[in-house]
Symmetry: C2
DNA sequence: ATGATATAGTTTCATATGTAACCAATATTG
DNA sequence: CAATATTGGTTACATATGAAACTATATCAT
């Protein structure tokens, strides 16, 4: 008489996609609260500021690539930042569809306020890990990211 | 003459909260597509099924704790699953507010179809890592999770 | 040049999500 | 055993989000 086959066990608590999601949310929420509470910025707006600070004159499309945001999200984040006076849209000379985005002095100002806070938050978070563990984590995440989406190279 | 102080650099691409978020999204999207495409389930519904399979008779509140979903999300996922005929709500004898949730035979059936697919997806994902790397990743994520939300113990 | 196709970005619309208000039942307190 | 507070869960409302349609410009193929 054949045994009844046991279904493979699946404990959510050890299922990587679940754990990743919960961890990511916990981390994001902590820092999102900082951006929002102190500066009225959404995570997406913060991301847009960060890449624009890094690459002044960047286009919305490029922002999307660097931040993994879709173009609608970029468009909205940009609109909000312009509204708040943190971002400026400059016409592109060579391509009239494109706009070149730059932080305003005000935008740069709060960006420079946020950076150390964000880095401090990150530092506090990873302080639970040794330096070696930190770099190992980064390395493993990198491998996983490639496995998860080989097509688009994220970093 | 004092140097102009350089703002601390922040490259989004190496900023842990960002990397985690992108990685988590990439992973989630892959498997979410599987649940949805093959079975018409949202991630939330899948999570509810998973914990209910593990603990038949579980309450909505307990589901929330185990899945890190808020009670509204649980309520909606449960309603959807009942609608689809995958979940059954049983009155609790001792507390009339609470309901005891169990998978229907149909629900159990598709659950048992999904589990191996989900595990296979996970396996494929982590196959980029050695066994040792896998357990190391799990360990590091655990430490990080505690650092990120010491209050609620996630696992 | 001219029509066809692709690209940058925005707007629209439908759906998902979170917060707060709410209802019902239980637990607590005086 | 009232009166009050708490808990389990749902509903309502306001906001966030994503897909698809759309506008404007640029590129490509003839």
């Amino acid at each position: 008489m054949p045994e009844k086959t046991q279904p493979a066990p699946l404990r959510l608590a050890t299922f990587l996609p679940f754990r990743l999601s919960v961890l990511s949310n916990a981390v994001s929420q902590r820092i999102a609260e900082l951006y929002d509470r102190e500066f009225g910025l959404s995570i997406w707006q913060w991301r847009v500021m960060a890449v624009t600070a890094d690459r002044p004159g960047i286009s919305a499309t490029e922002i999307g690539q660097r931040t993994q945001m879709d173009k609608v999200a970029v468009s909205r984040a940009v609109a909000g930042l312009i509204e708040m006076g943190y971002l400026e849209r400059r016409a592109s000379t060579d391509d009239a569809r494109r706009s070149n985005l730059v932080l305003t002095p005000a935008g740069l100002g709060i960006y420079e306020l946020i950076v150390p806070l964000a880095l401090a938050e990150e530092a506090q978070l990873v302080s639970a890990l040794s330096d070696k563990e930190q770099s190992e984590l980064a390395r493993l995440m990198g491998k996983l990211a490639i496995a998860a989406s080989p097509e688009r190279d994220l970093w």
